[in-house]
C-alpha cells in the first residue's frame, strides 16, 4: 500500500522465468531526486546486468536491498515521492545532512557521484566526509534510530536503509543491527571459516557476478561428468588463409583471428554431430537439439568471466562472424550486454589466445553439453611425408558431458573439426553428402 503522492516501484520481471534479481549497484539513494528514465539501479539476472530506469520523476523515499542482495520479482524495490511541480523539485533538493551512517563502500562512490550530479549540496557533504545517505529536510523517510546505533552501523559498514526496525514506529534497535553485523557474544551462524587473525588480509564479499560464476561453476562440476579430449591440429594452412585474408582486407576494422574461423568450422562440424549442439532441460529430462549453432564466446571482463552469444554462427560469413564476435565481447567487457546476448548459447568456445597453453580442461557452460578450448598455436617440428617439417600446431582441448555425449562421438566430432581446420577451404565448400550444393 502506498501513501498519497507515493509511487511504489516493484522489481520487474526482467526475463521469462526470473524469480529474483540481484542488486548490483544503486545509482540513487533515499533523498535523491530522479528524473523519469534516469538509471536508478543496476540489477542482475542470469548473467545479464540491466540498468533499471526510474519509471517516474520524483524523490526516492526508500530502497530495498543493497549490493549483493537478491530481491524477489514483484516485491517493492523503490518508493518514490511524486513531484507535483518543478518548483517543488528544486525546493526538495536534499541538503547536506549532518553526519549520518556511511553507505557500504561499494555503494558509496556511485551514490556520492549521483548525489553530486543531482545536487551540488550533496557533493559538499561528501567533501566533509559525510556520505549523506539520509536527506536533511522534507518528508523523506528518515531512518529512525539512535545516534549510538548510527555509529555502530557506520563502524560495521552497514547501511541502515537496508534494515527493518523492530522498535516502536519502525525504529531500528541495537538488536536489529546486532542481528546483521553479528553479535560478538553469539556465534555467527553463516560463517564456518574462522576469521583470519592475520592483519594483512583483505576480505572480498562473494557477491554479484562472482557469486553467479561460483554457483554455476560448482553446479556444472557437481552435476556434469566431464570428460576431456585433446587433439592437435595442424593450422599451418589455416594460418596461411588467415594471413592472406588479412592482407586482402587490410582496411577491415580488425584483423581476423583464429576464432571466427574455428567457430565457422565448428558450426559446420555440428551439422553432422547434432548430439553436441544441445541444451539439456534437466527439469523435463529432455535434450533439446538445435538446428542453429549459437556459440558462446567465453570472455574475460573486468568483472569476471562472461559468455556472450553469437547467434546462428553457421549462417554467417567469416567477416560477419568476426565482427559479431568482436561486438558481443566488447559489449560484455563494457558491461553493456543485453540479457538476450548473455543467454541461449548451444555450445561454447573458450580461447585464451597467447595464454592458451598446451592443454586445458574447460568447464562446460551448462546446460550445454560441450565446450571447445583453443590452446596456443606454435610452430613445431613434425614428421610430414617422411621428413621433418616446421608446422604451426594448435591443440584443441574440449570437454563433453559424458551423460549425453559418448566418447566415440566426441572423438569423431573433434576429428571432423580437425579435418576442416587442417583443410580450411573445406569449411567453405558445400558437402554433397548432406544435400548441400
Amino acid at each position: 500500500m502506498s501513501a498519497p503522492g507515493e509511487y511504489v516501484f516493484k522489481m520487474p520481471d526482467l526475463g521469462e522465468g526470473t524469480v529474483e534479481a540481484e542488486i548490483v549497484r544503486w545509482y540513487a539513494k533515499p533523498g535523491d531526486l530522479v528524473a523519469e528514465d534516469q538509471a536508478i539501479v543496476e540489477v542482475m539476472t542470469d548473467k545479464a546486468s540491466v540498468e533499471v530506469p526510474a519509471p517516474v520523476s520524483g524523490r526516492v523515499l526508500a530502497i530495498t536491498g543493497s549490493a549483493g542482495d537478491k530481491v524477489a520479482v514483484g516485491s517493492a524495490l523503490i518508493v518514490f515521492q511524486l513531484l507535483e511541480s518543478a518548483d517543488q523539485a528544486s525546493a526538495a533538493v536534499p541538503r547536506a545532512a549532518p553526519a549520518t551512517q556511511a553507505a557500504p563502500a561499494a555503494q558509496a562512490a556511485p551514490a556520492a557521484q549521483a548525489a553530486a550530479d543531482a545536487a551540488g549540496a550533496a557533493g559538499a557533504a561528501a567533501e566533509f566526509g559525510t556520505s549523506s545517505a539520509v536527506p536533511a529536510g522534507g518528508s523523506a523517510k528518515r531512518v529512525m534510530t539512535s545516534p549510538a546505533n548510527r555509529r555502530r552501523a557506520r563502524e560495521a559498514g552497514v547501511s541502515l536503509h537496508t534494515l527493518v526496525g523492530s522498535g516502536p514506529r519502525g525504529r531500528i534497535l541495537q538488536s536489529d543491527i546486532a542481528a546483521v553485523i553479528g553479535d560478538p557474544a553469539s556465534p555467527e551462524p553463516r560463517s564456518s571459516e574462522p576469521r583470519s587473525s592475520d592483519p594483512q588480509t583483505t576480505e572480498i564479499k562473494v557477491i554479484g557476478l562472482r557469486r553467479l560464476i561460483a554457483e554455476r561453476m560448482s553446479e556444472a562440476k557437481r552435476t556434469i561428468p566431464h570428460f576431456a579430449y585433446v587433439e592437435e591440429v595442424d593450422v599451418t594452412e589455416l594460418e596461411s588463409l588467415r594471413s592472406h585474408l588479412n592482407a586482402q582486407h587490410a582496411s577491415a576494422a580488425a584483423p581476423l583471428t583464429y576464432l571466427p574461423l574455428v567457430v565457422l568450422a565448428l558450426a559446420r562440424t555440428l551439422r553432422a554431430f547434432p548430439q553436441c549442439n544441445v541444451r539439456y532441460d534437466a527439469e523435463r529430462g529432455v535434450l533439446v537439439r538445435h538446428l542453429s549453432v549459437h556459440v558462446g564466446i567465453a570472455t574475460q571482463t573486468p568483472d569476471g568471466l562472461k559468455v556472450p552469444v553469437v547467434r546462428d554462427a553457421g549462417s554467417r560469413s567469416v567477416w560477419d562472424l568476426a565482427e559479431a564476435i568482436r561486438a558481443v565481447t566488447d559489449r560484455a567487457r563494457a558491461n553493456k550486454s543485453s540479457r538476450e546476448e548473455l543467454s541461449g548459447s548451444t555450445i561454447t568456445v573458450t580461447s585464451l589466445g597467447k595464454l592458451g597453453g598446451i592443454v586445458s580442461t574447460p568447464v562446460i557452460n551448462a546446460p550445454e553439453v560441450a565446450i571447445i578450448g583453443l590452446n596456443k598455436a606454435v610452430e613445431r617440428p613434425v614428421v610430414l611425408h617422411g621428413a621433418i617439417a616446421i608446422r604451426r600446431i594448435m591443440n584443441l582441448s574440449s570437454s563433453f558431458d559424458h551423460r549425453f555425449v559418448d566418447g566415440h562421438d566426441a572423438a569423431a566430432m573433434i576429428q571432423r573439426l580437425k579435418a576442416y581446420l587442417e583443410h580450411p577451404a573445406s569449411i567453405f565448400i558445400a558437402d554433397p553428402t548432406r544435400g548441400e550444393a
Binding site: S146, P147, A148, R151, P168, Q174
Partner: protein, 338 residues
C-alpha cells in the same frame, strides 16, 4: 565527627572560618542578634562579635554593594540573602560589579565575596520563597555557582567558597536543611542523623569546586541533577528498578564535564533533572554539552525534568514540584523511547 543537619554544617563552616581568618565577616538580614531566619548563623554574633557578624537593613543591593567594597578592601565577606527570591535587588551589583571586577581591573582588584542564599520549594513558600534562580547566575561570566545537597558537602563547599578569591553564589536547598527529602511530602520527615552525609567533621575541610559526586554508580542511565532533586531521582530510579548512575553536580560553575560525559558514554542514556523552571534552565546547558560531547554514544533522546514554566504556585506546590513520578516518567522515556 559529629551529626549535623545542613544548617548546623553551614553554621560550623562559618564558625570555623570566623575563627581561622580574621578577615572573614558575615552580613545579612537578621543574621546577627536573631541568628538568621533558618538559624544558620545562630550564636555566631555572640561568639565572634557585632563587628564580624553584622545585621543589615532590608536592602539586598546595599548588602552586596557593601560586601564588594569590603572585599576590595581586603575582607572576606559572607553575605546572606534571606531567600534567593530576594536576590534581585542586588542583581545589578552582582552582574555589573561583582562578577566583572577582576576582568575590568585587569586583575588589579578582586572580590572574594560569598553570597549564601536559600533556594527551592517544598516548604509551602509560594512564589516568593521557593525559587531556584541558579540558572540566572550560571549565565553570568565571572561568578561561581554552587548548590550542595547534604551537610557534609555544604560545609566543605562553603569553606572552599569563603577561601576562594572570586565571587561565589552559594545556593542552599532549604528543603534539605533538616533532612534528605525524596519528593514525597506525605512521608514522615527523615533527619540527617540517619544519613551518612550527616556525619560532618568539626574542623576545617574542603570539598573542591568543579568536581561532581557520583551518588550512585549504575549502568543503565545517567541522571544528572543537584540539590533536592538528587534524592528525588534516587527514589524514582529505585522504584523503577533501573540501575541508574546518579550524579550530584554540587558545583554548576565550574562544571565537571568529564564526570558527566564519561558516565553518559558508559550508559548511553541521560536524564537531567532540576527544580528550576525548564525553559532556558541550567538543564539546557547540560543537554547541550551531552549532545556535543556524547552524541554518538546516545541510545535515546536526552530527557529533561524541571519545574513548570510558571511562577512557583502556593496552592499546587506538589503538582509543580518535579517529584519522583515525573522523574520516573523521564527515566522510562530514556530507557524505552517510544
Amino acid at each position: 565527627m559529629a551529626q549535623m543537619n545542613m544548617i548546623q554544617a553551614l553554621n560550623s563552616a562559618m564558625d570555623a572560618m570566623l575563627q581561622a581568618d580574621p578577615s572573614v565577616i558575615l552580613m545579612g538580614e537578621d543574621i546577627g542578634y536573631f541568628g538568621g531566619v533558618f538559624r544558620a548563623t545562630e550564636g555566631l554574633q555572640r561568639k565572634h562579635g557585632e563587628h564580624r557578624v553584622i545585621d543589615t537593613p532590608i536592602a539586598e543591593g546595599a548588602i552586596i554593594g557593601a560586601a564588594i567594597g569590603m572585599a576590595v578592601g581586603g575582607l572576606r565577606p559572607v553575605a546572606e540573602i534571606q531567600f534567593a527570591d530576594y536576590i534581585y535587588p542586588g542583581f545589578d551589583q552582582i552582574v555589573s560589579e561583582l562578577a566583572r571586577l577582576r576582568y575590568r581591573s585587569a586583575g588589579d582588584f578582586f572580590a572574594p565575596v560569598t553570597i549564601r542564599t536559600p533556594c527551592g520549594g517544598g516548604i509551602r513558600g509560594g512564589q516568593t520563597h521557593s525559587q531556584s534562580p541558579e540558572g540566572i547566575f550560571t549565565h553570568v561570566s565571572g561568578i561561581k555557582v554552587i548548590m550542595p545537597s547534604n551537610p557534609f558537602d555544604a560545609k566543605g563547599l562553603l569553606i572552599t567558597a569563603i577561601e576562594d578569591d572570586d565571587p561565589v553564589v552559594f545556593f542552599e536547598p532549604k528543603r534539605l536543611y533538616n533532612g534528605p527529602f525524596d519528593g514525597d511530602p506525605n512521608k514522615a520527615a527523615i533527619p540527617w542523623s540517619t544519613h551518612p552525609k550527616g556525619e560532618v567533621p568539626e574542623g576545617i575541610y574542603r570539598v573542591p569546586f568543579g568536581k561532581a559526586d557520583i551518588v550512585r554508580s549504575g549502568s543503565q542511565v545517567t541522571i544528572i541533577t543537584y540539590g533536592t532533586m538528587v534524592f528525588v531521582a534516587t527514589l524514582a530510579a529505585a522504584s523503577l528498578g533501573v540501575d541508574a548512575e546518579i550524579i550530584d553536580l554540587r558545583s554548576l560553575v565550574p562544571l565537571d564535564v568529564d564526570t558527566i560525559c564519561s558516565s553518559v558514554k558508559k550508559t548511553g542514556r541521560c536524564v537531567v533533572a532540576h527544580e528550576a523552571t525548564r525553559f532556558s534552565g541550567f538543564g539546557a546547558e547540560i543537554l547541550a554539552i551531552v549532545q556535543e560531547e556524547c552524541f554518538w554514544d546516545l541510545e535515546a533522546p536526552i530527557q529533561r525534568v524541571a519545574g513548570w514554566d510558571t511562577p512557583y504556585p502556593h496552592a499546587f506546590e506538589w503538582e509543580y514540584f518535579p517529584g519522583p513520578a515525573r522523574v520516573g516518567a523521564a527515566i522510562k522515556a530514556a530507557m524505552d523511547p517510544a
